[in-house]
Symmetry: D2
Subunit: 433 residues, 4 copies
């Protein structure tokens, strides 16, 4: 199975490369346009505010993704380069110490200036220069790999735009919808099943001609003991059973640090769940990008921390998969990739389903370099490696992951207490020989 | 001297009150229009963001001042009252527990919805209803005092809008100006002088027919020992001498808590001062509502905490005045009230100058009830009294205090570490008989 | 009424001063011996631990009070002076920046070395040197005032030793008693009454030949409006009525900052109260220096913050007295001073009782310099003045205040949220003419 | 190589087990006596104070290790069991939720009562009961495994006693020595070398008849790519070169979280290093359990966080080993185990030296369950598993690890910012085929 759906430009194309370059240019325009379209339902105010240090304003995402092309491509390769605004070099640097100073992350929401309109003008300017550059045959070999990284980077930020704006809107007592829609909740999920895999040396990590991040390489061997993995993700209904069984009140299910987190933050349910009084009883609701909706028991439970995922697994007599197990299992199965939406639908596919397009899946693997890992050369060397501590790997992709930004070998990662991403649970278990 | 320049409506006018009511309506329209005009230089983004828990977004000020009229007047006295939006009752309640729930203060910046446009529509709606109410003779006696409070309250928020937006803009590395202007800095200040007052029983507090807040009453007697008070405020040049003499590095000048504050927050200069490298030397600059400007040594030093004011006074061999001393001295002098601007000008008036219209003046008096103080009756009883602890009284008014919102008896108050208000230093000293 | 019971040494005694000096020496020995005796029920471990940054270990008190004599007297006036241990100069400096470096307050509990035995040896050494010095006629005029300050300072620390060790023991789940005793709780309190005072200019502040602190001077005039003051302190029974009336759950009674404090710290009762299940019902108990005891409803309610005292007064339709009111009332009355104990007894004195010897009484007066205040000259100038911000004055004295360390003009002070001192409530009210 | 030096009791000994039981009893007495002897140089005060929430008072260690035997053995198996003091069950429970309530970890230093003498009496009582139990043949099969766990647990606490008391003494400005000794610093370290290992499936984890913790099992297969490991630990001299090369000031060497940690805590050197002025120059010193000593450049650098170890490795062009690499390398080598001391000596052994007895060695492996891991049954199931998040594995042992408490398969673990343990650096590197 090969999920890479967008054509990548070959790094060496000796003969006529024009088709490949045209494809790259078209792809550039398509990916960039999508970022703008994601901001369309939002006002300048919505795009400006930062709801917590972990999240960034949408306007910042719009600017930073342009800064990325300006800093890593135009500045190096455009002979006519002049900075659009010299101050943006600092304002929209995310974390690259090699580039120089940075505006502090927690202060991104202070930037009411430049305005959204100015940032959009900045974006248009960068696009003009990039399109121009992408038509110069002599420059293209030097930049095509960087362009691809820039587009992958932009797709990562597209997902973050949606998770960050979801968090922002959830902090508004009016609970506004990002997009209007009411979904029906009488859906049904397929039965839960286990798929078994034998022990042995397996290979994981990327090895191919397409794009991947440095953290997916090198492809290498790991020994996997016999295990089984769940056919689908845990549903809201199943997670509700954990709550009703006292899951959040019994330390026996929790990692020690997880239990401290539950008590310090008074955690009693997934991030976006709430309970509404309805006459004599009460019903569960879930805040979504479509606004507040009744909780659909058949859909996947989401916005769970690693701590919650691990506690659920323990309660259920199972565990989370390692990333090697997950990738090995995924490689064996073929899967229909879910259509991109703003909230996942219930599983309706037999086999090993919901690997992609529903919700990221916590693994028990701490984010660490693969044996022989080497960071990207140059300024982009800070992209991945420096985050390899105290984070846990998530595999698959979510309903808000852009189409084409999905790989079996993809390694997403977040701290154990992060919940604002679309993160859910796929169980695994060891099987004794 | 009577500073009350706006006509207040007599609480009892037996004969023809129509002129008084027309004046109130006109004043209502004038004050309300000024709030809107203050927001004009700002974008929706500027109006939405909250730069710190102490400051509120401009949009919130615009909405809250309308909420005040809706909640305390329309809801009680408009027979056709229907809430513009029932959720605004919670969203825009500042601190009135008697009204019910409140949106948390530190979360005011999360309200990207309602949009600025919606809040402006809310404002227009409240104005329509209020104007309509203000033409009904039978309702007017019951509401005119409340309208006056509402307008005074609105004027307080007009000043806060400017101090809060100044703080916000100062957090932006681009240091944008609220209003474009460059001012010349070769101004001169009058010589510093002392004015003496004999000991004796004096009366302070409001006693008249105009408007005052409950905390200014009752007028009562205090015994004042012999003292002298400074003819004008401390200038930037004088404060710079304190810095250059090591004022911020020697604990001998500081209250113990002030010294902790200096070290914990690495305080080395007034809030909006900064030092710019200029060739081989460096110059002092000050961020103002007109943007970054060279520091004018003749203008008043501002944006100083109580701790800094007290330390400066000790270094200068003087002290801060008590509020009784300040009010007693002010009552004896007549003064030209400075024209309202966005940044103060240097003193050019002989006599006891800069009492009003330059910068608020820290007194050494803790904010406390006057003997016999009784809070406003009803829901507005929470307006003042509950803040009477751990705050210090400021007297006078600043360059951004609205015209007509100035009284000798006016008691402003802030915690000892607050610096984002226009707050400066007038010295006093005791004189032995 | 003159409460000063210990003979002070006249600053000028031209003739034979030997009796006065002998008295001073005897008093030195008596006060110093009492500090040691207060530590007797405690183990070295009890004396070493610091239960919170506000409190100090008993061993530190024992050392610091000796350090005071060493630093301010022996070092200056003993011709044979040699430091007992040069490192103690830093270790046992409390807050005198003029002396040089200080061991950080919050780290006092780290000092397991020097041991208690070494500190006691240090103490004995200082006493030997001091006694020797106190017999030299030529030195005595220069040091007798300093000795008096040192003894007054020591008495202050005697009270702190008891409040700090009470706090420490209360943090131990075993709730050990400092001294064994069980007290009966069926005591009765005198009826509550009001004493009225007319308006007028009154004098407050110290003026006499005895000892007082710099903050009690100069004696000066204040104007006091007509008021009444309560005959005795509020009892546990009365405070319990406040609790049962929902006093801790209704913001209407609280200063805004007080209400934040109540909610942030989940305050529902005085510091040392607790509720014990007893079969089907529950009883209130109070932790005392005699251990856990049933709550005696007739004794004074204690260990209350300023916030709680103020809220109680508002609930009761009264207010706290100003310090001028308190001192004026106290000056008019004569009173039997309660015998020093470790927990107060109920009031059994007619008239204005419990001024002294029961519990400190919060006033509504912020701690500020008197008009014309001048700090002590020299190194001791840091003793009082630098604390005059964000603290409230307490008057009277408590059951653990040393005999002879009590004056009508005495000004104790603590922040509004402090509760570990013996602090209670005397009500006042304004009376309209 | 087999490091297990103490005889363990066979779980099944059908014939005459008396020798084995006698050995267990002797071992019980020996291990328990060592705990007491470790406290001998300390006063009751030293044993009582807690220097930070991560560290515990020595008295608490003494009590808790007895509590362990009382709770998990005597309470279940002693027919005459009566609690020594029922309150100790809560006071000295470390983290076992299954046992019930716990005294909060950060409050352990508040326990001035029970006194050290009482805790020693408690200890003697438990020892009497245990010795008595260890002579009953019918009970022994049921308890011998638990006794072994109790003794291993006690040895872990013996190491913690020394690390915790070292931290406490370092917080005292007097920098007292735990034990008097001055060591010479002109020692020499062996040359640094690399040992290579081929790729392949290796086995790690415990498999034998002796004791191990549940986290060391099951023995399982891992695939290891080709790598090399350092012959000895990084020395103080080598680490000093990192400092002098600007290691603490260049973010390029640091994990992003590590860099935040460096700046937030102003980290510029290993925990116990300090610089002393000496005339015109300055020298490096290191606080040790022998007091402050000149820094010996040949000894191992210690008291380093994972962040520092990782940064050093990156600077040195290497990396930290995984735990599989470390264990595989250790299994191939035989080693002289260093004699237990309070501070390590420089390496003088050829081959792969300093695996044990010098300093724990950070691995790049996050602490996680082995495939097929099952926690201990019953109340002791909380011993290890619940800590398996956000911690990194350390291998080997330190100079303060008790003799006989050392295994190739032993997994120690601490958070990435922990520095108060004896933790150092052994480098590794990947080798391409």
């Amino acid at each position: 199975m090969k999920l890479q759906t967008e054509p990548a430009v070959p790094t060496n194309c000796n003969a006529d490369c024009s088709t490949a370059y045209e494809a790259l240019r078209a792809r550039y325009e398509r990916v960039r346009a999508r970022t703008s379209s994601l901001a369309e339902p939002l006002s300048a105010e919505d795009c400006c505010v930062q709801s917590m240090p972990d999240a960034s304003p949408v306007k910042w995402h719009i600017a930073h993704t342009s800064w990325f092309f300006e800093t890593f491509i135009l500045e190096q390769h455009d002979p006519d380069f002049r900075p659009f605004n010299a101050e943006f070099r600092i304002l929209f640097n995310s974390y690259y110490n090699g580039i120089g100073e940075k505006h502090p992350r927690a202060q991104r929401g202070m930037l009411t200036r430049p305005s959204l309109a100015e940032v959009q003008a900045y974006r248009r300017h960068i696009d003009e220069r990039m399109i121009e550059l992408l038509t110069r045959p002599q420059v293209l070999p030097a930049i095509s790999a960087l362009v691809e990284i820039g587009l992958q980077h932009e797709q990562q930020h597209q997902e973050l735009m949606l998770t960050d704006v979801k968090h922002l809107l959830s902090n508004n007592p009016l609970l506004p919808a990002y997009a209007p829609e009411t979904f029906k909740t009488d859906t049904q999920s397929l039965a839960f099943d286990w798929f078994e895999f034998a022990s042995g040396v397996v290979e994981i990590g990327y090895c191919g001609n397409g794009f991947c991040f440095d953290n997916e390489m090198p492809r290498h061997r790991q020994f996997v003991e016999r295990f089984a993995i769940a056919s689908r993700l845990i549903t809201n209904g199943e997670f509700l059973a954990f709550i009703e069984a006292g899951g959040y009140t019994d330390p026996a299910y929790w990692l020690s640090q997880g239990w401290d987190w539950v008590r310090d933050h008074h955690i009693t349910r997934p991030l976006y769940w709430q309970r509404a009084e309805a006459g004599h009883s009460s019903i569960w609701q879930e805040f979504t990008l479509y606004g507040l909706q009744p909780l659909d028991l058949a859909r996947s439970a989401m916005h769970l921390s690693y701590f919650e995922a691990d506690a659920y697994a323990r309660w259920a007599g199972a565990r989370l998969p390692t990333e090697a197990e997950w990738e090995h299992a995924a490689a064996e199965m073929s899967e229909h990739v879910a259509v991109e939406r703003l909230h996942p639908q219930a599983s309706d596919q037999p086999g090993l389903s919901q690997l992609f397009g529903t919700s990221w899946q916590w693994t028990s693997s701490s984010y660490a370099p693969y044996p022989g890992y080497e960071p990207e050369e140059g300024l982009l060397g800070e992209y991945n490696g420096k985050f390899m501590v105290n984070q846990y790997v998530l595999r698959g992709s979510s309903c808000v992951t852009p189409a084409g930004h999905t790989r079996q070998t993809y390694r997403n990662f977040f701290p154990a207490d992060a919940r604002w991403q679309f993160t859910g649970i796929r169980l695994a278990k060891s099987i004794r020989n």
